[in-house]
Structure formats: structure tokens, C-alpha cells
């Protein structure tokens, strides 16, 4: 046997014995840092022995040729199955030729020893050349370490060449490193919260740890032109990063030993075993897999925060887009906050003692899409203990929360709040789902991240070019109270953090407590709870025949109102989209949409199912409980109203209408006006009479009001409740409080016959200029005799214009149609008006429909011409 063969046998045996020993020690101690250090030493020794045997028997030689460890190996971090990063360093190219065969044999022996090499071969001059397409090589030099050969050559590389190279190319290095990092983050959805993360590549993993170190090092060397003496991270950050590194090293060693290869995926099975063995958490009490993952996420979050802060604070590392907007974002935008280089600073650090300031800060962040500076984050962390003693709550908190949820960058603000532990302080109901891993084959992210992602997916709708997203974006724009949808999304899966099989029930209970604590008013509370209770309903319907009218009818009746249907459709869209990037397939998106429009049409066509005052249902029961003494009056009032009336009005509103009806003795026309969130709301309660709806809408038109939505219902006793939602185009009511009373008197006057509506309308027409039509809407007039057993449905789709509704309803009235129910809606410049019509107490005959259709068409045409 040759000396070479016996050396290989000896080395093979040494690797096997030592590797087994390292694995045994790791199994006993769980110390990943020690394991990688030992493996590094082992391989160092192997490499030096082979170098002496194959390259140069002289320990200090050969001259002009050195063996250098780079990358992870250079750092001294050789994980059990990681590649060995080596650099064959030559003084010049001539040197390489002489050692080609030796290097070939050297590499071959290492392969035969089953050691995976990642070799590179460079001269000193080549190392000094920066290649923007191969930033990784230059970065790998930052961790170089001498192994064997010409030490003086290595010193020239390490002490002179690298500092000068980095100083010269620091900008390009930082940009390159940042781009690669952002690309990697993008592949992982910009989040640490994966159910089965990759310990090396996922944001917050080992790669990010290294990136943070490199960013700090390159920035420092770029200025100093030399290796820095001390750690470049602030002590508190250093401490967190060290703790994270210890944990990640222990976990990665565990995975390598477990898989027997360089596989860094933390699968569920691996999580179970890691938790059972308390990997990286030897001091903890027995932990479940979910708790162990929480420890992982805590460390990953710390690493990700550090790397993101460094990316933000290093101008050279900014993305191209960020640099374009840098000037814009540098303008200070508030009396409380400065914005410098796109980062938010507090003008006064002590201001955070005021909890309102803290809430305003995150609203500001959500509105502008800016990030917090490290200093601001530090101040927030310092303010938290005091805040925990008396946290904000109640209506004030809800006000800030809803305004923040509505902002385009709400998700980023929520993530920042969550990362700083502020979100769970304000909403402790979210604690059970903090970093919670729930295992199913569909979800990719933790429950809290899923909820925030769902909110983000809705905000992103407006930026999307996809046809599907644009349809859903239109729906979102029509919502009256989108903040309720966002709140429902935030809370909808909180039940998953509670033991028990039905997470919907758990979520309802938790959400109920949250809504109570936020003093959310009853109508809004009911809407949020409804969404949570039914958040799986639409998806469940996709397993049925969604084109079957019975399926559609049952679903629509369960949902009840168009507004709730829209919210549920959007919630379903967002929920599916946030499961994983591929979850919302075109198949699903189409099905959700088809079911939505089928149900929406059904609700429009079935509005006339009547209430019976002595029926037992939840809404009626609640109404009775609100006014126990009303007895027969209550029954008479609700009898004969469409079910829709009870669905679109809260119990409190119904009671108010009933009270208004009781006051007919004093005043037969009762009007209530209030300013809502988005519109003014006018409620008219009076006895039915011919042309009532036309007259009412005429008065609004004469005042220049733009009707956005309206509902008109009547009961068996001939009492009409008309609710009109309108915008004040000329700010008449907004700027003149006294006009409120005059406006109401105008309505009662016209209805009483003491004011001349036609003159008012002529005066308005003379004084008005008309806005240019931006989107042309084709007129459609459709009659439907099938959907209702008692009325003919008429749907009019037309260009929204001033006085449109008045002209339509007047035309209907002039042609002998009685409006039983009116459902008025507007979508952008499209008016969508549905009327349930009778004539002489019956449906309209075919001839009558023809006449009305023709007259309406002409009326709409003349309106178009006159404007």
C-alpha cells in the first residue's frame, strides 16, 4: 500500500470517528456552536494533512500559493453537511500552472473522502477585481481565513487588498447584496412566518444573520478603509443577534444530523422532534412544537428586524424605486414626526408617554408607507411598560384602529406594531395566534401573518392589473364600512389559538370580547360578528352547484343583505389569497364571483318577502326586547314590511321609525336627517300617497343633492319608510347649519303641498353646470315578471346624473305604477335602480311594461340631452 493510500485510509477513519463523536456530543449537549467549531477544526486538520502530502511538504510553503477558507468555512461555521468553501490563492497565473495536477489530486481526494467542496481559484490581482455579476465571491472574501501555504500571500489579501477593495467598491457591494437579499425575501413572501421555514434562506434565518453582519462590515470598511476593531452593532441588538445565532446554529445542526444531508427545511416532523429534544431551548420547560416554533419566530423576527433596519439605514442599499422617491419622502409631513431618508423619527422622544401619540405614529406609518427608524423603535420599546399599565381602550382606540386599518399600508403598520409587541398589548385577543403554527396542507404562514396578509391583499387590489382583482376592487370601493371588514379579517381566525375543534366559535367569542372592549356600537358589532361567523360559508358553497337557483337562494337568504354579501365575498377572496400565493386559482376566483353575482341578483329580486309581526326570529325578538311595552303597536308597525327592511336597518333605527310613525298626529310627515360616515342619511316616515318617492327625490334634486343609495319600503298599514343616502354636492348643509332645518322644512312643505317643487327644480337647473361624463354607461331597462309573485321588477341601469332618480320615479308615477319597494344604488358613474312595481294592486301587464319601458327610455334620453 502506498503512503498516499494509507493516508487516505487514516483520514477516512478519522473523519468517520470524529464526525460520530461530534454528533454524539451534540446529541448530549445540543450545542450547535460547539458542533460547528469542532467540525471546522476537523476539516482544517484534514485539509492541512492533505496539503502537506500533496502540495508542499514544507509547512510554510509553497511560496506564492495559499489555501484559504472562505464563506461559512472561513467564519469557522462548518455545519455537519455544508459545503467546504475553499479558495486556491496564487500570487500570479504562472504559479497556478505549476500546481494544477496537485490541486486536481487534492480535490479528488477530498471528494473521495465524501467532503463536498465549493472551490474557487484566483490570483491576488483577480481577487482585487470586482465583478458586479458575482458579488457573492467578493462577499465570501470578507470571511477569509488562512489554512495552509504562503501565509504572507494571505496577509496581503486580508490586510491590504480586501480593505482597499471594499473601500473602493462599497457602494456596488452594498447595492448588490441588498438586491440579492430583497430578491430572496420576495421569494419567501417578505415574511418570517412560514409554517415550515428554511432555516438558512427564509427571512430571519442564517442567511439574513450573515447579511446583517456584512452590511455593517462593508459600511464600516467603506469609511475606514480597514477592518474594524469592535462589533458594529449596538449592544442590545448584538445581544439579540447572538441569542438568535446560538438558536439557529443549534437548529441547523439538528436538521443536518437528522436528514443526513444539507437540508435546512424545518418540516412539521422536524419541529416535533426539535421540540421534544428542546433544541436551542435547553433551559425551557417542556415545550410543544407550537411553542418551540414561537421561540424560533422570536429569534427570526430579531434577525429580520436588524437586517431590514440596516437595509433602510444604508442609502447605498436602497432599492432603485426608493431612491427615486427619496426626495419626496424626505419632506417632513407632521408636527410630531420627521421623515428623513424615508424613515420616521419622533420630534420629541418623550412624546410617546402619550398613548395617543403612539397611535398617531402608526396611523402615519400606515398612511404614508414609511418605516420606523431604529431610534423610534427603541423609544417605542421603552414606552411599552408604562403603556401596559394603562393601555388605551374603548372608542378612542377603536377610532385610531379603524382609521389605521383603512390606510393603504395598514398591513405594514400592523406588522411593525406586532413586531414591537404593541399590537398584542392593544389587542390582547391576538395573543393566542401570535406566531401560531397550525398544521394544514394549505396554509403556508402562521395564523397572525395570515390575518395581516389578508388585510394586505385587499389593500393591494387597487394596484393590481388582473381582471379578477379589478372586479373585487370595485366591490371594495362600494363598501359603506370597510373598516369592519378589516377588523373581521384581523380577528377571524383567533379561535385557532384556543383548544377545541371549532375555531369559528372560538373566534366569535374572542371577537365579542374585543368588540366590547373597543365600545363598538351594536350595528357594527353585529356586522363584524356576522362576517366571522360566516367566514367559511362562501367557500363551503363552492362545493355545491353554484348555478343551481336553490343553492343560490339558500345562500343569499342566509346572508340577507347586499352589503353583507359584498363584505363576505371580499373576506373570502382575502382569506383564500392569504392562505398561500397559489391558493386563489382562477377556478376559485371565478366561482366566488359567480356565486356572488347570483346571490346579489337574488337579493335584488326577492326583496319583497314580507315580515309577519308575530313571527319568531332573532331580529324581531331583539326589537321586542327593546320596547317591551309597545305590544300590538309594534306588531302592527312591522307587519307587511319586506324582510329587507329589517335587514338593512338596525333594531334601534326600526324603533326610531316606529316612534316617528306614532307622532303622525302632530305632523303627518316626519323627517330625520343625520350626517353619516360617508353620506348624509335622510329618513322619511309618512303615510303612502301617489308619487311620494318621486316627490321626495325631486326635493333632493332641487337642493343639488346626489342620491347614492336609497331604500323605500311600506308596511301593511300604508306607512312608508324611505331612507335616502346622499352627498351634498355644493356643501350646503356642511357649511350652513341653519340650512338643515330649512332643508327638512322644504321636504315637509313640498309633501304637504305648500311648496312648489317644479319651481325649485327650474331654479336649480338654471344655476347648475354639469360635470363632464368620464365613463359612458349604456342605458338598460329590464322587466322581470318571474322573481316576485306580487310585483313586476324593473331594473334601470343608466348614467348617474343629477335628478335621474326623480325623473325615473316621476315617469313611473305618471304611467300608473305604484312603487312598492325601491332599491337604489350607485357604482361610480353607474346608477343601478331596482323597483318593485304594481298597478292596481297587481303586476304590470305586458303592454303596460312596454309603455313604461318606452317612456323611461325617452325620459332618460331627454335628460342626457338637457345635460
Amino acid at each position: 500500500m502506498t503512503a498516499a493510500s494509507s493516508l487516505i485510509i487514516e483520514l477516512r477513519s478519522s473523519i468517520a470517528e470524529e464526525s460520530a463523536r461530534i454528533e454524539r456530543e451534540y446529541a448530549a449537549t445540543g450545542d450547535g456552536k460547539a458542533a460547528v467549531a469542532e467540525r471546522t477544526r476537523l476539516i482544517d486538520e484534514i485539509l492541512r494533512r492533505l496539503w502537506l502530502d500533496l502540495v508542499s511538504a514544507d509547512e510554510a510553503g509553497p511560496h506564492g500559493f495559499a489555501l484559504v477558507a472562505t464563506g461559512g468555512f472561513g467564519r469557522g461555521w462548518l455545519f455537519p453537511y455544508s459545503d467546504i468553501d475553499l479558495l486556491f490563492l496564487y500570487a500570479d497565473r504562472g504559479g497556478e500552472t505549476g500546481y494544477k495536477d496537485a490541486i486536481r489530486q487534492f480535490s479528488q481526494e477530498l471528494w473521495d473522502l465524501k467532503l463536498k467542496l465549493s472551490p474557487a481559484s484566483r490570483t491576488l490581482a483577480e481577487c482585487d477585481r470586482f465583478d458586479a455579476n458575482n458579488t457573492e465571491f467578493t462577499i465570501s472574501l470578507l470571511d477569509c481565513r488562512f489554512l495552509a501555504g504562503d501565509r504572507e500571500l494571505f496577509v496581503r489579501l486580508h490586510d491590504k487588498l480586501i480593505p482597499k477593495l471594499v473601500m473602493r467598491e462599497s457602494k456596488a457591494l452594498l447595492q448588490g447584496l441588498a438586491e440579492v437579499t430583497r430578491e430572496r425575501h420576495g421569494k419567501f413572501g417578505q415574511t418570517v412566518f412560514h409554517l415550515e421555514p428554511n432555516l438558512k434562506e427564509t427571512p430571519g434565518g442564517l442567511r439574513d444573520y450573515n447579511v446583517a453582519c456584512w452590511l455593517a462590515l462593508i459600511s464600516s470598511m467603506g469609511k475606514l478603509g480597514d477592518w474594524p476593531d469592535a462589533s458594529l452593532l449596538r449592544p442590545p441588538v448584538r445581544k439579540q443577534m447572538d441569542a438568535a445565532l446560538e438558536f439557529l446554529m443549534a437548529a441547523r445542526c439538528f436538521l443536518h444530523f437528522r436528514h443526513g444531508r444539507d437540508d435546512n427545511s424545518l418540516s412539521w416532523e422536524a419541529q416535533d422532534e426539535a421540540a421534544a429534544r428542546k433544541i436551542g431551548a435547553a433551559d425551557a420547560a417542556d415545550v410543544s412544537a407550537a411553542d418551540w416554533m414561537r421561540i424560533y419566530f422570536r429569534h427570526a423576527r430579531a434577525v429580520q428586524r436588524t437586517v431590514m433596519q440596516l437595509l433602510e439605514e444604508t442609502p447605498e442599499a436602497w432599492s432603485t424605486l426608493r431612491r427615486q422617491f427619496q426626495g419626496w419622502k424626505s419632506r417632513p409631513s407632521s408636527s410630531d414626526f420627521s421623515v428623513v431618508d424615508g424613515l420616521i423619527f419622533l420630534k420629541q422622544s418623550s412624546s410617546l408617554q402619550d398613548s395617543e401619540m403612539l397611535l398617531r405614529l402608526f396611523h402615519f406609518m400606515a398612511h404614508h408607507g414609511l418605516k420606523l427608524s431604529a431610534t423610534t423603535e427603541h423609544h417605542i420599546e421603552q414606552a411599552l411598560p408604562a403603556l401596559a399599565v394603562t393601555p388605551p381602550r374603548g372608542a378612542e382606540l377603536w377610532l385610531y384602529l379603524q382609521e389605521t386599518l383603512l390606510q393603504p399600508h395598514a398591513a405594514d403598520a400592523l406588522r411593525a406594531m406586532h413586531s414591537l409587541r404593541l399590537l398584542t398589548l392593544l389587542l390582547p385577543e391576538l395573543k393566542p395566534i401570535d406566531s401560531l403554527v397550525v398544521r394544514d396542507f394549505y396554509h403556508r404562514f402562521t395564523v397572525d401573518e395570515h390575518s395581516i396578509l389578508a388585510i394586505e391583499s385587499l389593500h393591494r387590489l387597487n394596484q393590481s392589473q388582473s381582471e379578477w382583482d379589478q372586479r373585487y376592487a370595485e366591490l371594495l370601493g362600494e363598501l359603506e364600512d370597510p373598516e369592519l371588514l378589516y377588523l373581521a379579517l384581523l380577528l377571524h381566525d383567533t379561535g385557532k389559538g384556543v383548544p377545541g375543534s371549532n375555531h369559528v366559535e372560538g373566534s366569535l367569542e374572542i371577537a365579542g370580547r374585543c368588540l366590547d372592549r373597543l365600545d363598538v356600537e351594536p350595528g357594527e358589532r353585529a356586522a363584524v360578528l356576522f362576517l366571522i361567523a360566516n367566514h367559511l360559508e362562501l367557500s363551503a358553497q363552492l362545493r355545491r352547484d353554484i348555478f343551481n337557483p336553490e343553492t343560490v337562494a339558500a345562500f343569499a337568504e342566509k346572508i340577507g343583505t347586499p352589503e353583507r354579501l359584498k363584505m363576505l365575498c371580499l373576506l373570502t377572496y382575502a382569506d383564500i389569497k392569504a392562505v398561500n400565493p397559489e391558493a386563489l386559482t382562477p377556478w376559485k376566483a371565478e366561482n366566488v364571483w359567480q356565486l356572488y353575482i347570483g346571490a346579489a341578483n337574488y337579493l335584488n329580486r326577492s326583496a319583497d318577502q314580507r315580515v309577519h309581526g308575530d313571527a319568531s326570529d332573532e331580529k324581531l325578538a331583539r326589537l321586542r326586547s327593546l320596547a317591551p311595552v309597545t305590544g300590538a303597536k309594534f306588531k302592527d308597525f312591522v307587519e307587511g314590511f319586506p324582510q329587507r327592511y329589517l335587514l338593512v336597518h338596525s333594531a334601534e333605527e326600526v324603533m326610531q321609525h316606529m316612534t316617528m310613525a306614532e307622532e303622525f298626529g302632530h305632523d303627518p310627515v316626519r323627517v330625520d336627517l343625520k350626517r353619516g360616515r360617508h353620506w348624509y342619511e335622510l329618513a322619511l316616515v309618512t303615510k303612502d300617497r301617489p308619487s311620494l318617492f318621486a316627490t321626495l327625490t325631486g326635493v333632493l334634486a332641487a337642493w343639488g343633492m346626489n342620491i347614492v343609495k336609497a331604500n323605500a319600503f311600506s308596511n301593511q298599514g300604508g306607512i312608508v319608510v324611505d331612507t335616502i343616502y346622499f352627498t351634498d354636492r355644493f356643501r350646503t348643509l356642511e357649511l350652513n347649519m341653519s340650512e338643515w332645518q330649512r332643508f327638512k322644512q322644504s321636504i315637509t312643505g313640498v309633501l304637504a303641498g305648500s311648496a312648489d317643487l317644479e319651481r325649485m327644480l327650474r331654479d336649480r337647473q338654471r344655476s347648475e353646470k354639469h360635470a363632464r361624463v368620464k365613463v359612458v354607461v349604456e342605458t338598460r331597462i329590464d322587466f322581470d315578471d318571474e322573481s316576485s309573485s306580487t310585483s313586476t321588477l324593473l331594473q334601470v341601469i343608466a348614467q348617474d346624473r343629477p335628478r335621474l332618480l326623480h325623473r325615473i320615479s316621476s315617469c313611473l308615477s305618471q304611467h300608473g305604477c305604484n312603487i312598492e319597494i325601491a332599491l337604489i344604488d350607485t357604482e361610480g358613474q353607474m346608477a343601478i335602480d331596482t323597483f318593485y312595481l304594481t298597478s292596481g294592486g297587481k303586476k304590470l301587464g305586458a303592454e303596460h311594461q312596454k309603455k313604461v319601458g318606452k317612456a323611461l327610455g325617452e325620459e332618460l334620453k331627454s335628460l342626457e340631452i338637457s345635460q
Binding site: 353554484i546 348555478f547 343551481n548 376559485k588 359567480q594 353575482i597 347570483g598 341578483n601 349604456e778 338598460r780
Partner: protein, 112 residues
């Protein structure tokens, strides 16, 4: 060995899965598909716009079985998937030359 592919109504999936499980068929692949045979598409008018669906969403089920099981499986699918209306779907049978289990490279009917 035979591959059984069944295109069925979405609403019948659970029934077909249960029926196959009852006769001892455990493994299957389920795919969301769109298509139509003689069944016409569906058009819904919403706010004045027509939304036509020519290719109806369906579910495709695939199982590979030993020949002895095929007829039983086909009958189970038919009984569970049938509603009697146009649009119930179709079943296709194709021969399979070989089946290999990735985990342990087992081949043939034993790998099913």
C-alpha cells in the same frame, strides 16, 4: 392496471370520495378543471353587464387501480356522481404500463 379519470360536478365530490373509500380505494388525485359537454354555459347579468361562463367549473378525479377493481370503482363513481341531469360528467379509462412508489421504488400493483 388502469387509470380511471372522472370529470364530475363539484357538488358530487364528497359523495364520490366516500363511495370509493367504501370499496377500498384510498389514493386519488383531485384537480379543479373547467369544461363542458352538451351542457350549455351559464350567463348572469349583473348591473347591466353579462358574465358568461362557457367552461363550467368541474372536478376531475383520477385513480389508478388493479384491473380487478376497475369495474367496481366505475360503478361506485356513477352511482355517487349521477344526478340525472346534463352536466353529470364522464369517466375515461386508460391502460397504465407501470406504477412506481417513490419512497422505496416498489413497482407494479403492489405499489398501488
Amino acid at each position: 392496471m388502469t387509470k380511471v379519470e372522472a370529470v364530475i360536478q363539484n357538488s358530487r365530490l364528497e359523495a364520490v370520495k366516500s363511495a370509493l373509500q367504501e370499496i377500498g380505494v384510498e389514493g386519488m388525485t383531485v384537480i379543479e378543471v373547467r369544461g363542458h359537454g352538451r351542457q350549455k354555459g351559464h350567463t348572469e347579468v349583473y348591473r347591466g353587464r353579462e358574465y358568461s361562463v362557457d367552461l363550467i367549473p368541474k372536478t376531475k378525479l383520477e385513480v389508478v387501480l388493479a384491473d380487478a377493481m376497475v369495474e367496481k370503482a366505475v360503478q361506485a363513481i356513477i352511482e355517487a356522481a349521477r344526478t340525472g341531469k346534463i352536466g353529470d360528467g364522464k369517466i375515461f379509462l386508460t391502460r397504465v404500463d407501470e406504477v412506481i412508489r417513490i419512497r422505496n421504488e416498489e413497482r407494479g400493483e403492489g405499489a398501488l
